[in-house]
Symmetry: C2
Subunit: 422 residues, 2 copies
């Protein structure tokens, strides 16, 4: 870090629909992440309506606390769009039509078969004196960048993909030059885990926390498919990489077993790699997950090279008639049992003529639980060339949570079985 | 509306993780919706870090423009949690420990087997003089409500379910009494459509727009499963209901055909009702959707009464061997064709012994398109007691969009076929 004070940013998001909650503000958090990564952290954010006075009040306050102010939204062609004149007025800059933008707008409308540029749209060509125009490849409103008493003020459209496009294509580089030695980038690395509860993971990490470099921060991010650990550090890139490596080595001494197959964050991708390596084909037989595992596998383009198909055996009769589960065994042990899960895994591999089969059967709820088998009880099994491994869990949460967690557990067993080999 | 000026609200959301974009602010939009519905619209929102000065700056500004200020976040037990002292300081109120809250905290910790209340948590029992305590059933930090120079200031925890719980269980009623005749509630009604593009829907609506009551606003909300039209009005409940009914009647003159089965917003529910009415059983055979339709059907608890199961026939061999699609026909017409979709629908109903079968086959992309059958081409068919109806579309969008849109189109054909009867 240089001797100069680190540069700070503020963000002003304009839009009535954000205040009323019809839309959730994702531009603010996206800019928060991008600006943190660039090295100009956001220190305050305003959400204001389509109201010149509110935009000016927020900008005045922002100019007092930040080196960079980004205003997003309100650059469209309708009379609700007040950002451009409100900002120009506060900064004491005249608005002048920019001939290049006018030409560009004419061209856009001509391409859509409209030869006369609507008067409304002319307002989008107005530029505050001295402002730099930031090209918008995806829409009609360009971004604008102004300097004011040592502060930079950027205006970006509110449409997320246009805002993101201008930021990534143009503005990020301009800001990198502008703030140069006042940037302190925030860098993350994420370790994906699955099959361990957040509280237990936290305890494991606490055992080694003293060994972590002081420079890094940890965050635990729980989801239905696992808990991610995010390591963060604010520093220059080379220094960051060293500390991130150190931190990862320390964490891996306790969490590595739960990261198996999760290098990329999605277990389905790891399963795909493992199947492809062995040239194995796969079929799945699902009861409680009702197609979710097949859906997750086929979310990936190219899954047809190893995935042949599946059976959703929701009714017990289908488990028996189509998958060959023994009726007497099913009646004796119940549909949610090790033998039935194993029979489904073996049965679907036989039926669809694959090397590997997965079977899963459980009680997703909210009804159907018993004292011995409460809601959330799930048995799952993997058959590789006829050799079967099975496991079970009682998952917590509502129907959706049980189904998501169960699909992840079955994929984890599948991955481990493939990784361990025959 | 009374002669009194309508009451306005401002929201201050506290949390460093929101500024850095690690978390998206959903509390702000949730409060925006609840306060609009209550009749105190939000006119500005601040996102600030865990920083007393920033909290006070935002609160000072908010007190100048709003009658009600809700501050959410920063009520936890750690030294990052500064909301309580920062607000009390600005409003000139002493903080005093509340014996009831202390007892409640002790009880909570005792229930977790901790007999000594940690000193940190004692800060959560501190209450600004004169503040009303708002019970929190779901966590340790209660909400607080203060009056200051004719303004109301409420502090709520940042954990969404706790914040929502306190608002719905306690605060909403308190505010209803507090602002009484200054409330102008915003009321919505949503008409769900499917099977019509947003632009076409917009044109249809434009034809009848002149007949709509002036008091209502319309918003079009497009999604992968259809476009919803939201009718909004700000008025008292009885007046609103009349105008909403009027508006719906006008809109239904053009959109009713696309609302079929979508009264509740989810086509799967409508399909469930239609199947249950006829006492029909259902099976599905999926290729391109890879289990998504079965998954959507089994998202509903109770689907086991009509859904027997499905086959994911990803490989063509499974369409032929398991579902009985004629190999020569498949080769001649291609796997993505009317005859194959029809054969799958009939085949899966035969295989799983159901009244109704659905078949779907298509090219989800990104690879696999041809000039005659581009990516997005999908054929789908419904068989009811052996009588088959089929349809096809070329869906736009990426793999996920094509799969979602295709599943919706197949469910729509299923619903229509059931509604039209044999």
């Amino acid at each position: 870090m240089s001797g100069n004070k680190q540069a700070d940013a503020a963000v002003i998001v304009v839009g009535e629909e954000l205040l009323s909650g019809e839309t959730t503000d994702t531009n603010g958090s996206w800019l928060g992440r991008r600006l943190a990564a660039l090295g100009v952290p956001v220190v305050r954010r305003w959400i204001v309506g389509d109201d010149a006075e509110a935009i000016q009040a927020a900008l005045s306050a922002a100019l007092r606390i930040a080196d960079l102010i980004i205003v997003t939204g309100g650059l469209g062609p309708t009379r609700d769009d007040l950002t451009r004149p409100a900002v120009a007025d506060l900064l004491g800059l005249d608005l002048q039509p920019d001939p290049n933008i006018v030409d560009d707008l004419r061209e856009r409308f001509r391409a859509r078969g409209i030869s006369d540029l609507p008067t409304n749209n002319l307002s989008q060509a107005e530029v505050p004196r001295g402002a730099q125009v930031l090209a918008n490849k995806l829409g009609s409103a360009p971004g604008l960048l102004m300097e004011h008493e040592g502060r930079s003020v950027a205006l970006l459209p509110g449409v997320p993909r246009e805002m993101r496009g201008i930021f990534d294509d143009v503005l990020a580089d301009v800001l990198r030059d502008r703030f140069e030695d006042r940037l302190v980038p925030l860098v993350h690395r994420t370790l994906y885990t699955t099959g361990i509860a957040e509280s237990v993971l936290g305890e494991r990490v606490d055992e080694v926390r003293a060994g972590l470099p002081e420079e890094v921060d940890l965050a635990f991010l729980p989801g239905l498919r696992g808990v991610s650990i995010r390591i963060s550090i604010r520093s220059s890139a080379d220094v960051s990489a060293k500390f991130l490596d150190e931190a990862q080595a320390v964490l891996d001494s306790v969490v590595a077993p739960y990261r198996i197959g999760m290098e990329k964050g999605d277990l389905v991708e790891a399963v795909a790699d493992a199947l492809t390596n062995e040239s194995y084909t796969l079929a799945v037989a699902e009861s409680c997950t009702g197609g979710l595992i097949a859906k997750r596998i086929t979310d990936f383009p190219g899954s047809s090279t190893y995935f042949r198909g599946g059976v959703v055996a929701y009714a017990d009769q289908i488990k028996i008639e189509l998958l060959g589960v023994d009726e007497a065994v099913l009646v004796e042990n119940g549909a949610v049992s090790e033998v039935v899960a194993a029979g489904m895994a073996r049965g679907v591999a036989d039926l669809l003529n694959t090397d590997v089969g997965v079977g899963i059967t459980g009680i997703a709820g909210p009804e159907g639980g018993t004292p011995e088998k409460p809601v959330g009880t799930v048995w799952y099994a993997v058959s590789v060339k006829g050799a079967v491994r099975a496991s079970h869990r009682v998952f917590s949460g509502d129907r959706e949570a049980v189904r998501e967690r169960a699909s992840q557990a079955a994929l984890r067993l599948l991955y481990q079985t493939l990784a361990d080999g025959p």
